[in-house]
């Protein structure tokens, strides 16, 4: 297996296929193409962090592996804190490796709305199966921890369906645990699976290389101009040339690269997220969530409209949740062993935009929730709080500034009778997609049903940005499945 490239000055690199980005989409594309014997060069804006060196503390991971140091947000009436990976492996390195297929009705709805041929639960199933095999998507063995049991009992108490969550994981003998709760080497992120696979088959990887713009000649992209970092951390100009480009830089960066390259038609205009609101739930007994896996079940009764789940719990992530309103909640910090963090995530109607502003390295993201989105968040919050109180929570604190928390189920609905207090709600999302959605009509959609960029004959987009809408579940599985589909189509056309 070849090591990641290190440059020592201005460089020119040529390849057959340039893959921009190494997340769930880029790694999938690169491994498939390398497996077919194609000369592949992967470039990644962030650093390469081997599994053994993944930080065990959030404060170490944020500056190293998260875009914007984790300080990212959409602008709008209700700002939404968002998270994106910025390292080799992309978002798969910072998520919880939960593997969920998009519900059948969602896939059918996308096919219908965007006129996608050969796009159905049945035709996508083989791609999902291959993706699941790559990450060994499986249920976590052994007894579930209290955070999982609490959510399962909460669902059962209300008569709601719950679903066990599969994760990309493998057994390991390591005793050390990473931030995500996995033992070192157990998490099947892209840096543990498809990146080494691609490197083992001859692909090259250049980390710490940011694409400034694509170079265009007629209806072809001939390569890119990039800025890389040498071993001393100095900026170096890098010229890349390729006969084919796969853009897999992620939901915010792919449209930004296209806009910086002068390609803007329908780009970045339908950006979506899964708006999420958290609650902290406290119990009389010790939950010790900091010593257990995140809840590995979800309340799926109301999917795809909304889903309830649980978050990774560390002392610092608990402090982050309380810091939304520290003056009211800071006093609860010593009770960390009695608490869990749960959330409601909705499949929204609202859309936003990704706008590249000259002079700014990062695009400006805007997002607007619709009235129905706010109703869904309010309903989900009410249901989750009542469910947790039904299984013994003594206090459920919503992410609403100034709210002291509910101690009785009967107080929840009256409290929310006027809807979600938009000026006090702290929303977040770790799922971003749809900024370059696929569709049949090139006048309406920037990429075709196989991810090919409209107006160009050698560019394919294969990341979260091509999702036609919100999947209602963690998008990693769908991104991988659609990337495999796009790559298979490219290889079939190549002959």
């Amino acid at each position: 297996m070849s090591s990641p490239l290190v440059i020592d000055g201005p460089a020119s690199l040529a390849c057959d296929v340039l893959v921009v980005g190494t997340g769930a989409g880029g790694a999938t594309v690169a491994a498939s193409l390398a497996n077919a014997g194609i000369d592949v060069l992967m470039v990644e804006e962030g650093p390469y962090v081997p599994a053994a060196k993944v930080p065990r503390l959030l404060s170490d991971a944020l500056p190293l592996m998260w875009r914007g140091g984790g300080l990212m947000a959409t602008l709008g009436a209700i700002p939404i804190a968002i998270a994106e990976g910025r390292c080799v492996g992309g978002g798969t390195e910072i998520n919880s490796a939960i593997f969920q297929r998009a519900p059948d009705e969602v896939i059918a709805g996308w096919a219908n709305a965007n006129h996608l041929p050969e796009f159905s639960p049945q035709t996508l199933a083989p791609f999902y199966d291959r993706s699941a095999a790559v990450v060994n998507a499986s249920l976590t063995p052994g007894p579930p921890g209290p955070p999982t049991e609490i959510l399962r009992r909460a669902g059962e108490a209300m008569g709601w369906k719950t679903t066990a969550l599969e994760r990309g994981r493998r057994e390991t003998s390591s005793q050390q645990h990473q931030l995500s709760g996995f033992a070192t080497g157990a998490k099947q992120s892209m840096s543990a699976t498809l990146i080494p696979d691609a490197l083992g088959r001859g692909a090259r990887l250049l980390p710490r290389c940011r694409i400034n713009r694509l170079t265009i000649k007629g209806c072809r992209v001939t390569g890119a101009v990039a800025t890389g970092r040498d071993a001393q951390g100095r900026c170096q100009r890098i010229t890349l040339s390729a006969s084919q480009v796969f853009l897999c830089a992620g939901t915010t960066q792919t449209p930004s690269i296209l806009q910086r390259s002068g390609i803007s038609k329908n780009i970045g205009r339908s950006f979506q997220v899964h708006p999420t609101i958290r609650v902290v739930a406290a119990f009389p007994e010790q939950v010790n969530a900091h010593r257990h896996d995140l809840p590995l079940v979800a309340i799926s009764e109301f999917m795809p409209a909304l889903r309830m789940g649980g978050s990774v719990f560390t002392l610092s992530s608990f402090a982050l949740a309380l810091a939304e309103d520290w003056r009211v909640r800071g006093r609860f910090m010593p009770d960390y062993a009695h608490c869990g963090i749960y959330y409601v995530m909705i499949r929204p109607d609202g859309v936003g935009r990704v706008r590249t502003v000259p002079g700014l390295a990062e695009p400006v993201l805007t997002y607007a929730l619709t009235e129905r989105d706010c109703r869904r968040l309010r309903d989900g919050l009410s249901m989750l709080a009542r469910a947790l109180l039904a299984v013994g929570a003594t206090r459920v604190i919503p992410s609403l500034r100034g709210h002291p928390g509910w101690t009785e189920a009967g107080r929840v609905e009256p409290d929310l009778r006027y809807g979600l207090p938009q000026d006090r709600a702290a929303l977040m999302s770790i799922h971003l997609f749809g900024s370059c959605p696929m569709g049949r009509d090139p006048d309406l959609f920037p990429v075709d049903p196989w991810g090919r960029l409209a107006g160009f004959n050698n560019v394919v987009v294969a990341d979260g940005s091509v999702l036609p809408g919100a999947p209602g579940v963690n998008p990693q599985a769908t991104i991988m499945a659609l990337a495999l589909r796009a790559t298979d189509n490219y290889l079939a056309g190549r002959g």
Partner: protein
């Protein structure tokens, strides 16, 4: 103490109580972390934080009787910040939340704090089970 470090010091959680000799070191570590996170954030967000922080410094200077933040006691700094954020103007609240969040994150990941917490007896969990204030 510079204004930024003085502000972060005012935002350090009270629990667990740090030995007097360690508080300064933890504050420096947290201040560096928060400053680095702000430096890494997108330019438009960074710009907003810097403008609002400058506004806060001017506000605090006036409110503290033309004394710089670093020259007054921690309680006074915390009080000024609290009043500033209590104006309920969304950007002001957002500034306090960003600084508070990053400070709390750095604080509860700090090795001294983690060591202190690991030595503490198991928390009783009483404060969460009382009725809402």
């Amino acid at each position: 103490m510079r204004a930024f470090e003085a502000t972060i010091d005012a935002l350090l959680p009270e629990w667990p109580p740090l030995p007097a000799g360690r508080r300064s070191a933890v504050n420096i570590s947290c201040s560096r972390f928060v400053a680095r996170q702000i430096a890494l954030s997108p330019a438009h967000i960074r710009f907003g934080i810097c403008v609002l922080f400058a506004a806060f410094c001017i506000y605090a200077f006036v409110r503290l009787g033309l004394r710089p933040l670093g020259a007054v006691a921690r309680e006074q700094r915390a009080g000024v910040l609290s009043v500033f954020a209590f104006e309920q103007v969304p950007p002001l609240v957002a500034l306090e939340r960003v600084l508070r969040s990053m400070t709390a994150l750095a604080f509860f990941d700090h090795p001294d704090v983690l060591a202190l917490i690991s030595r503490e007896p198991s928390p009783a969990g009483n404060s969460l089970h009382t009725k809402a204030p």
